[in-house]
């Protein structure tokens, strides 16, 4: 471990330090939210800057187990902004419930370090540990509202199933290691190329490993039929946490997919493509269909996030079918989805500032009168989730679909089917997204509630999310360049 290593892995290291700093700050001046917020946000700013500074040039460190490339930089920045948003949205929710901000922030930051590690790992062991480092805090955050039955119930379900899937995933990894005799991603890749060339069919051991790893990953991204934990965990968790869970671990898991499947298992594309297609179909359809029947907005958004996983898988499938655009679309989708979904959950959280308020649809009745701005922003986010232009969600969907269509015209019939299914699903999804709008603007609430005052921080975060949601829809150019670089870095 040299200084060079540390400087290359600078962002990661700094992130860890920030987490520790927050811890220290909390011990130094306990119960001072301001301090915690300041330290964490400023720290994140520094991390971001450092990422931008160091991320420009590709490099490896720690004996080739850590790697920085365009993808790393893009994903790290995405994670940082996700965490920043979460931290910004949290206080208004935690305060009335007497939950400390410090532990929340610390755990969250640790989760971020895990995600950053995934995006930067050039070694499958690092990848696994990064995954654990990302998800373990997730379990804790899900149960963060420990006096609340729902929160803890969601947490234990999430934890048990999560570690179950981790074990499965690890078992698969072990087989891959055994077969390739290495944990380094590039070496695995080469070894597999050899195998793929040597024997047309892949060894049963490898097949089993693939199966176990796919299962593990599918669980983490909440793909059907491994999605069961999602609705319960999302509904139970404190709303800001739900917001984080719906994007952070998901994007992290997709980062894992990029590093593991796209990079390491790239040579076996043709094999896992077929599985991914099936997963995509199931995930999109089931997510949307079940979401149609939900009356709790958080749960509804949980199912919708399953559906969005499906759309992203379409991108992945398109990539496996030979279209780099699929990868770009996937990345773009990730970014777009993070911002709009965080925004939506932020609004829900803001409404729940009044302790004891559920996230049922009725909560939204008459919001358009009570708090017009919140309602308008929520509408925007929902429209973006639906995929109505000119929003981020629309462009992302279009991008993924474009990739699928290209693959279709390149001769992969299944991808054409995926594209059509995706848009039909999007149309169906409009129903439940717009139903929230119906409640906000077209129904009046039974109980007349006064408007809540919301912190400046929350508004700032909401505005930022809004701006990003619209910008990514209207001026996709810059981000397009970034994602295409990132995609090129690993394919």
């Amino acid at each position: 471990m040299t200084l060079a290593d540390l400087s290359i892995a600078g962002p990661f290291v700094l992130a860890v330090l920030v987490a520790v700093a927050v811890l220290v700050a909390d011990i130094a001046l306990p119960g001072r939210r301001g301090a915690v917020l300041a330290v964490s946000l400023v720290g994140l700013a520094f991390v971001a800057v450092l990422t931008l500074a160091t991320g420009t040039t590709a490099a490896t460190a720690f004996g080739g187990s850590y790697r920085v490339d365009a993808l790393t930089t893009f994903l790290d920045l995405l994670f940082i902004s996700i965490i920043a948003f979460t931290i910004v949205f949290a206080p208004d929710y935690l305060e009335p419930r007497g939950l400390p901000l410090a532990e929340f922030t610390v755990v969250l930051l640790f989760a971020m370090t895990g995600a950053m590690l995934i995006s930067a790992s050039a070694d499958l062991l690092v990848l696994f540990i990064g995954l654990e480092l990302m998800v373990l805090p997730g379990y804790l955050l899900a149960g963060y509202h420990k006096s609340d039955g729902y929160s803890t119930e969601g947490a234990i379900k999430y934890f048990l199933l999560g570690s179950f899937s981790s074990a499965i995933f690890l078992f698969g990894l072990a087989f891959v290691w055994g077969l390739t005799g290495t944990t380094r991603i590039d070496e695995v890749r080469d070894a597999l190329v050899a195998i793929a060339n040597g024997s047309a069919s892949l060894a049963p051991g490898l097949a089993l490993g693939l199966a176990f790893m796919t299962t593990g990953v599918a669980f983490k991204i909440a793909a059907v039929p491994f999605h069961y934990w999602t609705p319960d965990a999302y509904q139970g968790s404190p709303t800001p946490v739900t917001g984080y869970l719906s994007v952070g671990p998901k994007i992290g898991a997709f980062a894992l997919i990029l590093r593991l499947f796209v990079e390491a298992l790239g040579p076996l594309k043709a094999d896992w493509l077929q599985v991914v297609v099936v997963l995509a179909v199931l995930t999109m359809t089931l997510g949307n269909l079940v979401a149609l029947t939900q009356t709790n907005v958080k749960r509804m958004l949980a199912y919708s996030s399953i559906a969005h996983t499906g759309y992203m898988l379409v991108g992945l499938a398109a990539f496996a079918a030979g279209r780099i655009e699929g990868l770009q679309g996937l990345l773009y989708y990730g970014a777009a989805y993070s911002f709009m979904n965080l925004g939506a959950f932020a609004v829900v959280a803001a409404l729940q500032k009044r302790a004891g308020v559920t996230s049922n649809l009725e909560t939204f009745a008459g919001l358009g009168r009570r708090e017009p701005w919140l309602a308008i922003l929520m509408t925007l986010f929902l429209l973006s989730l639906t995929g109505i232009p000119p929003t981020a969600g629309f462009f992302a969907k279009a991008y993924v679909i474009l990739a699928a269509v290209q693959a279709f015209q390149a001769g992969y019939g299944a991808l054409g089917f995926l594209a059509v299914l995706a848009v039909l699903n999007a149309a169906a999804a409009a129903f439940y997204y717009l139903r929230v709008v119906v409640y906000m603007f077209m129904r009046d609430s039974q109980t007349e509630l006064p408007a809540l005052g919301h912190g400046r921080l929350l508004w700032g975060g909401l505005v930022a999310a809004t701006v990003l949601t619209i910008l990514l829809g209207l001026v996709p150019g810059p981000l397009l360049d970034v994602v295409s670089q990132a995609a090129r870095a690993i394919s």
Partner: protein, 105 residues
């Protein structure tokens, strides 16, 4: 014969252990039993890894290192898990997981 000198033996063992763990996880009602089952599964993986380390030259010594890491991870997982179990036991006064079904559909 060379039972101890064939990789397959250990892999079989690992598989069996893993399956037992899975069964426990699927069948037991008690949260802690499930946790223990997971530990069994992780150990099964560890066994496989160490076995690979012992029979595949490329992984010589590395297997052991990886195993160490995995043990550490398992420890962390256990910590978190037990913490959560205790927390929920406070709310529900029961460790039986199949009674935690306030959220469904």
């Amino acid at each position: 014969m060379g039972l101890a000198d064939s990789l397959d033996t250990y892999l079989e063992l690992a598989g069996t252990l893993f399956a037992i763990g899975t069964f426990g996880f699927l069948a037991r009602r008690n949260a802690i039993s499930m946790l223990m089952s997971i530990e069994l599964m992780l150990n099964a993986v560890n066994l496989a890894i160490v076995a690979f380390g012992a029979f595949i030259p490329a992984l010589k010594d590395r297997g052991a290192v990886i195993a160490l890491m995995v043990i550490a991870v398992a420890a962390a997982e256990a910590t978190v898990g037990l913490a959560i179990v205790i927390a929920i036991f406070r709310n529900r006064k029961t460790p039986l997981v199949d009674e935690y079904d306030a959220m469904r559909r």
